[in-house]
Symmetry: C2
Subunit: 251 residues, 2 copies
């Protein structure tokens, strides 16, 4: 009768959901722009449970009005579900900045710890950290941080490195990878957010890049996850083929 829920005394919206429920909402939110939306399968992968468990939980979330669902269809958040999800995303990304800047975490270490903390911190904690960090707008991976009013500026003008034409120049803004090894590689290549790059050449299997004078190949698999602000100039990006963007939309 009095059971397994999160204490969560006096928070504004993030009522009394279990950590588990919160996780589902967050993952659904993050998959919103994914090509096929938030499907049972993909959710199961991301959350680390079996598809059957996802179905069960989605039913419950639907009953609570946090999610809209039709059987065998991808699920979508309602407005109240979205609010909770964005709150969590804000917690997560603020915590990443905090761990990175204040506690000296490496950028490939922040995700895991933030994952655990995001469910547990209070509104007060969130606010104090935001102040301490001067209200950062992006986390160490370049992902935008929702405001305390839960407005999330969508990234327009950002193109995956893999889509740039030869001669394009720009600045790396986001790295949408979560795997630690991949992040380490990106760092070793010197491709952290903020890095200015120029596309020396494109091949079927990758992009040849000029960074600070040196030149190397970035395989397509990586280049799809490096989102770039393009500097308007002599060359322009390839006009994109029809259809929705195929990048995975991580974190």
């Amino acid at each position: 009768m009095k059971q397994g829920l999160v204490e969560n005394a006096g928070d504004k919206g993030s009522s009394s959901l279990s950590h588990s429920q919160q996780d589902y909402l967050k993952q659904i939110f993050l998959l919103d722009h994914a090509p096929r939306g938030a499907t049972t399968q993909i959710l199961a992968d991301r959350i680390g449970v079996r598809p059957a468990s996802v179905t069960g939980m989605l039913k419950k979330l639907a009953e609570e009005g946090l999610v809209e669902r039709a059987p065998y269809r991808a699920v979508r958040l309602t407005e109240s579900g979205r609010r909770i999800a964005v709150e969590l995303v804000r917690h997560h990304r603020l915590l990443e900045v905090f761990l990175f800047r204040m506690l000296g975490y490496r950028w490939d270490e922040v995700h895991e710890e933030a994952e655990a903390l995001e469910h547990v911190i209070s509104e007060r904690f969130e606010q104090r950290v935001a102040e301490l960090l001067s209200h950062p707008e992006r986390d160490p991976h370049g992902d935008p941080i929702p405001t305390s009013e839960l407005a999330l500026e969508e990234d327009r003008h950002l193109a995956p490195l893999a889509r740039l034409a030869r001669g394009s120049r720009g600045t790396i803004c986001r790295v949408t990878l979560q795997d630690q090894d991949a992040l380490n590689l990106v760092e070793k290549l010197g491709l952290l957010p903020g890095t200015e790059i120029e596309v020396a050449d494109t091949h079927p299997d990758g992009v040849s890049l000029l960074v600070a004078g040196s030149r190397f190949l970035v395989p397509t698999l990586l280049a799809l996850h490096l989102l770039v602000v393009i500097v308007p100039g002599p060359a322009s990006p390839h006009p994109k083929p029809r259809g929705r963007d195929r990048t995975a939309g991580g974190r």
Copy 2:
């Protein structure tokens, strides 16, 4: 089969216990020096569950070798149980200092937030925070912080204010209260740890105190929870009556 435990990838000792189990161990530890030890009833109160639930959980902890138990008797920690409990106490008190010093929490606010965070932070987080704070030895309430090797210096030489004789002088070192209102009162009276005090007089219902020139009465109920380092001098504390100390040993 794969269930409700804490992820806890690569921590040293604090294996894979549920938050709940960790809570039990911590409370048992904190009650170690209490007059009647860790009884079912008191544990139930502190943890916020019914006595029947405590019995059940203690059985489980006993099976896992974290606790030694005989029915109808107070429970005690084994060495491995103690290690986990002290680890948690270290987390808790470090977090209190962090919230107080870095995030500007009031001292009556730190406990609640630390309670939630202590189960969730990693060894790395613990270590980085400890460094950031220059390895503090006490939390904002004056409670000693176990070292990273889990050694906890016991407080000797500390006497409850309520036991001091007229004319005794000393410095408030610990405030073993957790109720927010009580803590606020103590702060309003200017009795934070570090405050130098002198006992002007003693009554059956309280202690008359001299602090920074002004004089006021501290009711016994409060005075029992203000632990004082006595300055050796003209007056000495009442020789204590036989029997174990009766202070509750909070937090």
